[in-house]
Subunit: 342 residues, 4 copies
């Protein structure tokens, strides 16, 4: 058994129920590329959750969900406003620029969240042919810093975007953790709040692979099939993505997984707080814990537990809880941290 | 149980051994993005097969394997010479042009195979700044028409390419079917024949998803990690691609699957030949059968069996056998065809 | 004085009237980037010629006029249907693919002209996510082979394009030569025939540099300013392009220049026809003469007169007449050809 | 006569000597696309100035000079570090991202100049496949704020770049103004300082259009011809760009023009300083004057003199002097400013 670490929620494997769904879908032949009943059913589940007036498409990975979704809302001379810490800005190796041609306009933040005021600062030069034309605001929910936008904050951004002829994209790689963290109906923080395009994450919440691009603004979905294929994201054996999503929605598994991960992150944070040498740096609202640890202890900790150093200069690290994190894992880890930071 | 059809080898599901390997890999946490022992092992299997002097990378799908592989060998002002029927030319929705910037120079063929003479016709304007500069020849093995290049033919193309400062890419989405059809060591028709980059197919040979990009020309692999990530093809839970490949090589499963599929295609062709109203149009060298059927019978056939019409004008259709095709499937199908074409 | 050759109409210099207009525009300061009265006036001239319901933009060169015009009518997953000999297909180093992402679908022709029937053959797979979606037909008038589409032929293509939800682009690098050759009002073969986007050539008809992109379909012009700037084609001292165009329209200079060039090509062809060793291969309808000359004579001819060999295999060459070609030039050249082909 | 304004150095026209050179080059036929003696001579002039071990290419405009130059040094997964105020970052409508695929990493500055320390902050994640790989540092000389890098500062940046496997690009749209402002040999602040690629500006220093891309690092020039053509920047009547550059170097015109413009900016700044309501905000080292003026006076000033507001929030404006600015222009302007700001 491989040790469960706190490196990332994508270091975890597949939730047993989802694996079972894959096995069940492995049954004879079905038409490739999504013209199958598994895909039909998975899309129906999304519509049950989010309403019938949406469009749903599956892609392989999260970077693609973001990039292809944003492509539908932009021309190459547009710009995308986002947090400096946004996954699209720092973790996608320039895929957004390469595939859309757009410039990203990153906003420095303390907690991964951007505000209308900051966004407004970047909405200038509109109509000026020398300037890229801001067209999309992209926010991450839960953010890369483990924080959450409130419903009200999202609404304010969406309203501002729409008033300025822009679209709102939400990177929801951890949307389930946000829904749980805010204890709201998912519609409240997406559709009803004015989100136009949502990257709905599966992989970080117990799936093997697979993400969904949800269009609340259905007009934007018009050409997505072609964009997806040209974007190299059309799975031939699509049923195995679809079956996973169907399983994720059965018995509210997506909520249960996220609830557990968030709870574990909370527990981890609470126990870490007792260690005087370690300082929690971000509010723990989802399944991430950010902390500053003594620099010299990092290599010692990483010998046993792999995790990412977020900021080399400040020796801030990131620890993530997953659907399969156990209390025992936390106890062992915290104990080890205590020893190492002495 | 969904009916097994002859629509495509990607309408089949996952081979049981491969599914088992996925289950076995679902064991605790491992580092994401390929820094795990499953990936290490899968790469080692590829090296056992093809030599240690290669570079191996996994991607989600076949279109990506082709496009990203070709990207490593081209600048945007280059051109790629291929058969008019090549998957990169007609089935990838312009992904090669979009991602590489290159022009494709398609060659009309009777059987999906291109010759040195035809290629040479497109290698002109070299050094002329007005013209795209031909840099890659891409051939498909087995071809989209179910035919095979001989080792000698591949060598001739590779030699010509290299003499003209070009690279040879092989789309091996069905490379296993070619290896079996020619009854050769895979090295004979790839590495030793002079192939620089190989898209090694997994999905059409019993995997759930996942393809490999193999660099025999290791220099071309230098930046592939970045190209893969920017190309939105870096799987976070990579172990589940890797474990599938490892299972594909265990007990020569890749060969066994292809052998079976080829045999079934042969059987299908032989039985179809007995129907006077149907005319086989291509030599059956791998797992595809191309045939002209009476136009009016096509919708009737498709009511029960989904398949693709290859050429509306000539009413030529394509039937593919898979690793899981059964003799009984063929008997039932042929019986049905007989009835419908009367 | 540099010898006047028959290499290309862009080997000629600037027409004296146009040079005078440049000098006259060199008068104090004006706002850059087109917000000046020279540009206003030039656009007004275009509207006088083609109607007020058009949009007019200037760019540096002909390749850009074509590529940026086509960009307004396409998404990256679209395809552009054109003649195999089209400038966009063979003389722009892949600029259309690079900037638009689109695939070009070239049609082999005898005389540079494509037909509705040929175009229709390429309009397939519409709605199929695996295929590029044909969206633009691009024709060249006068063609690269010196031939002309009749008004009726253009209308047929435009009608077909529009019926199939496509746009018609016309590469009019030599539109003046076509207008003269057909002896029609320019509106007949552009706007009234159904052309959506026209590249209106200036450089090959006596200007120093500068081409216009004319949108008869005004909706397509909506974002052209941004596409032009992002396409690196926004001239800062725009007045000097505009002043040239204004001069081109004064005293019908554009028609006079083209009339002269066409007449000289005709004269050249007639004299060449008297040489039994040389065979004219294309109808001379504009300002180009294509001819097959004895292979061994080509280097000898090129020692004195630079020109392009069109087809090395058949030893077909191209000779172009310009606004400044003199009868004496033709006499001298023909005399020299006679000597060399003996 | 159009009033000479202080809007921009590209609101000026063509220097008389340069116009004369255009007229002189309008002499019969020469081969298109740069295979002519005018181009040969212009390149020779550049080599006389900068050494024989360079490569020189002409393009239409400044945006293209920057973008195409940077393209030679980058792959699509690279990043370009520059000042937030850099022309490539704010005035090229996303052309760098679109054409190169690269991400720009902008650095906020007070005066348009970036430092090694700031650059180093952006050089991270090297080798990490999730991150764009910083490959080019681009600095502007003179900067967009009218300031100058010292030779020592450039050397420090070049050394840092080279030590980190990066290239140094210099946007020299106003390189002449920098040479004059620093009173150095141009080689000192380019070649000898370690610049790899230089955009050498012509248009803002008295030319009609035309910029040069100079490669001190000759390896980078290898494929520039193809990049230029695919980038839609190959002028057919190239001689008219080349003749302008030759004239620019005759009698040190490029230096004389810049000297005059810088002197006029200095004079303007000195006179403006006497107006207590206006505050000069940047050191005047080249031909630009930045100043904060009372907000309500801006529209009044612009009624008579067009100029750009640099920062709406602080009511900072930019005034530029040109090769043709006269002392009288300054006196009239300053007098008018005095009246309007009262």
């Amino acid at each position: 058994m491989n040790t469960r670490s706190f490196a990332s929620d994508n270091n975890a494997g597949i939730h047993p129920d989802i694996l079972k769904a894959i096995e069940a879908a492995n049954n004879g032949h079905v038409i490739a590329y999504g013209d199958d009943t598994y895909t039909e059913k998975a899309i129906a589940e999304f519509k049950k959750l989010l309403g019938n007036d949406i469009e749903v498409f599956f892609v392989f990975g999260g970077t693609a969900a973001n990039v292809l979704g944003i492509k539908t809302a932009t021309e190459s001379f547009n710009a995308v406003i986002c947090a400096e810490t946004a996954h699209i800005n720092v973790d996608e190796c320039g895929a957004p620029e390469k595939f859309t041609g757009c410039k990203l306009l990153p906003i420095p933040t303390m907690n991964g969240k951007i505000t209308v005021e900051q966004i407004a600062h970047h909405v200038h030069g509109i109509g000026d042919q020398h300037h890229v034309q801001a067209k999309v605001v992209s926010i991450t929910q839960a953010t890369e810093m483990g924080t959450l936008y409130t419903t009200k904050e999202i609404k304010a951004i969406a309203d501002y975007a729409h008033q300025n002829n822009m679209f709102l994209h939400m990177d929801g790689a951890r949307i389930a953790n946000a829904v749980v963290g805010l204890d709201v109906d998912i519609k409240e923080i997406t559709k009803n709040a004015g989100v136009d395009i949502l990257s709905f994450g599966g992989t970080k919440n117990g799936m093997m692979f697979g993400e969904a691009v949800i269009f609340f603004n259905q007009k934007l979905a018009k050409d997505f099939r072609f964009i997806r294929k040209q974007g190299m994201q059309l799975a031939s054996k699509m049923r195995f993505v679809s079956a996973q999503f169907a399983a994720l929605f059965a018995n509210d598994l997506w909520i249960q997984n996220a609830k557990h991960a968030n709870k574990m992150a909370c527990l981890l944070a609470n126990k870490i707080k007792e260690i005087p040498q370690v300082k929690i740096t971000q509010e723990v609202q989802a399944n991430a814990v950010f902390a500053i640890v003594p620099k010299q202890s990092i290599p010692k900790l990483q010998e046993k537990y792999f995790f990412y150093v977020w900021n080399e200069e400040t020796s801030e690290v990131r620890w993530m809880a997953s659907f399969d994190t156990q209390e025992e894992d936390i106890e062992n880890f915290v104990k080890f941290v205590k020893e190492m930071v002495k």
